[in-house]
């Protein structure tokens, strides 16, 4: 599902954010991406979300080689990747329902399907009763769950989350992580960037460790746990 082959990213301002990354994440796997601030977690997720392009090497996601992808095709590739952001990136002037419906509207889904699928998605994250509310009237945890509902509403095969529990208390964080585990159980590939070591250890999943732009652990075998 995610395949990195000798991938590096240099920024014009100087410095190499990622260098020589080799990574294979199979379909249906769930993994955590961890490391210190500035180790390259965000850059790696940006490469997967096609927000940035690699300076060298091959990024192949869901069978598509990103280095050969034209600008025109980017939107269609992004529809197959559910991205969850630390700052939620919700539209604050639209209701929860409209926010979650947006990916379906963008994909031109029939109106009947949109309503049904948005309700199913909101039900999954436990926010069905808040569909008419505006995002800003919800708590941080609830906003994050709206973001998750939006990411999964069009059933992408890959979910990517950038610090999804960044601003949440431990109990809420665990709840969110369990939600991701549930999606993984039905076959969705999940990659979560996080620096919450305790939580990661408790989840007992594969852990990728980045340090100064290099992948120092978890690249090869599956099921490896950070000690």
């Amino acid at each position: 599902m995610i395949h990195f082959e000798n991938v590096g990213k240099r920024y014009a301002e100087g410095g190499e954010a990622l260098s020589g990354i080799n990574l294979q994440l199979d379909a249906g796997e769930m993994a955590f991406l961890t490391g210190h601030s500035g180790a390259g977690k965000s850059t790696m997720l940006k490469l997967i979300g096609l927000i940035e392009r690699a300076s060298y090497g091959q990024v192949i996601i869901n069978g598509k080689n990103f280095s050969k992808l034209g600008r025109r095709h980017i939107p269609y590739v992004r529809r197959d990747i559910g991205i969850i952001f630390q700052n939620h990136k919700l539209l604050n002037d639209r209701t929860v329902f409209d926010n979650v419906a947006l990916p379906l509207v963008i994909a031109g889904q029939p109106h009947r399907d949109i309503q049904r699928r948005v309700h199913a998605s909101l039900d999954k994250v436990g926010l069905l009763d808040k569909e008419r509310m505006l995002p800003l009237s919800l708590s941080g945890g609830e906003q994050q769950r709206v973001g998750i509902a939006r990411a999964v509403v069009n059933k992408p095969p890959l979910l990517v989350a950038d610090e999804p529990t960044g601003n949440l208390d431990p109990a809420l964080s665990a709840e969110i992580m369990n939600l991701f585990a549930e999606f993984n159980q039905v076959g969705v590939t999940v990659l979560i960037a996080s620096h919450d070591i305790d939580l990661i250890n408790r989840m007992d999943k594969r852990v990728l460790v980045l340090d100064k732009g290099r992948l120092i652990d978890g690249a090869g075998e599956q099921g490896e746990v950070l000690q």
Partner: protein
């Protein structure tokens, strides 16, 4: 009906199969680039949504939208109004073509009898409506009456005025070119000393009106450019206001076409509503001018009444407004939408 039903049914059953599970499925994505038969319907649906979304945005911001629309309205009303004025002037002067008249001054030596023969000869020409013979005696009488030099004329031994024929061509021969030909023909008659077209001033008026028409055209082009810039700037601001929204839409897979559609429709709405405003402004102005113009035409014993913007003109203003709005939006969208990329 039947065809529609058969086309729809497979899709319905397909949705029923997937409707049970709310969670994503392994390795498959149900959302794909629309293709095939449903593509056209999806295309129109997308446009329909954008159309109402943009209308909603215009109505949610009534004051700023109204200001933009008013500016566009004024910009479009100026050339449209001047066009109406010009058309009216042309309508008035068209009536004056009937009054085209050629004065033939005959040689002094021509006697009254010969002059009468000439009248008959000219009257027989096909392009002549009427010939009036003014004898030297009549002319002198008129001169005495109107000039105020009556006493001075007493001093003269004999009448210095020649026979004059006033020739009026038929309506079909009253166009400048035809009159010119007729004038040439009459001038070449042996007994004619001098032939004078009394409507030189009409030609000058036409020339002035031609300048006016060209002026209106130039003004219209300039103001169309202004409308383009106004709409372009409004849309640019709208894009900047929605920067975050555009970023999020791009992040979750919106195409450029999807994002730009509402902006293009806002441009179209603004242009068209501006055109409606222009039409109202022109109508209002003409209504305000109606009274004074009526008074003036009464003083000239004319039954002239001010004409308004003709239906074709209204259509032209509406279409021009809509197109300019769309074009302005398109230019702004093309320039500014690409710059916004998620980071």
């Amino acid at each position: 009906m039947a065809r529609q039903a058969t086309r729809r049914s497979p899709r319905r059953s397909a949705t029923r199969v997937t409707s049970t599970d709310a969670v994503p499925k392994r390795g498959t994505s149900t959302v794909r680039r629309p293709r095939g038969k449903g593509w056209l319907r999806g295309y129109f649906k997308g446009h329909f949504q954008a159309l109402f979304l943009s209308l909603g945005r215009v109505s949610r911001n009534p004051l700023s939208s109204l200001m933009t629309i008013a500016v566009i309205g004024i910009a479009l009303a100026l050339p449209a109004g001047l066009h109406v004025v010009l058309k009216n002037v042309q309508g008035v002067s068209a009536g004056w073509e009937d009054a085209v008249q050629i004065s033939l001054f005959l040689n002094q030596s021509i006697e009254a009898a010969e002059a009468r023969r000439l009248v008959e000869k000219i009257s027989a020409m096909p392009s002549i409506e009427e010939v009036v013979h003014v004898t030297p005696q009549q002319a002198l009488g008129e001169f005495r009456q109107y000039s105020g030099f009556g006493d001075a004329l007493e001093v003269l031994d004999e009448n210095p005025l020649p026979n004059v024929l006033l020739v009026r061509p038929i309506k079909e021969a009253s166009e400048p070119l035809m009159v010119e030909l007729l004038l040439h023909e009459l001038r070449s008659l042996p007994s004619v000393e001098m032939a004078q077209l009394d409507m030189e001033w009409l030609k000058r008026l036409y020339a002035i009106m031609a300048i006016g028409e060209r002026g209106v055209l130039v003004l219209a082009v300039l103001l169309a450019l202004a409308v383009l810039l106004i709409v372009g700037n409004t849309i640019r601001l709208a894009i900047q206001n929605r920067r975050d929204e555009i970023e999020v839409q791009k992040l979750i897979g919106a195409t450029d076409a999807f994002i730009q559609r509402p902006f293009l429709y806002s441009g179209l709405w603004q242009g068209m509503l501006g055109a409606v405003m222009a039409w109202l402004l022109v109508t209002l102005s003409l209504w305000l001018l109606h009274g004074p113009v009526q008074q003036l035409s009464l003083l000239y014993n004319s039954n002239f009444s001010l004409g308004s913007l003709e239906p074709v003109g209204i259509l032209v203003v509406l279409v021009a407004g809509g197109l300019l709005g769309l074009l302005g939006a398109w230019l702004a969208v093309g320039r500014h939408l690409r710059d916004i990329e998620p980071t």
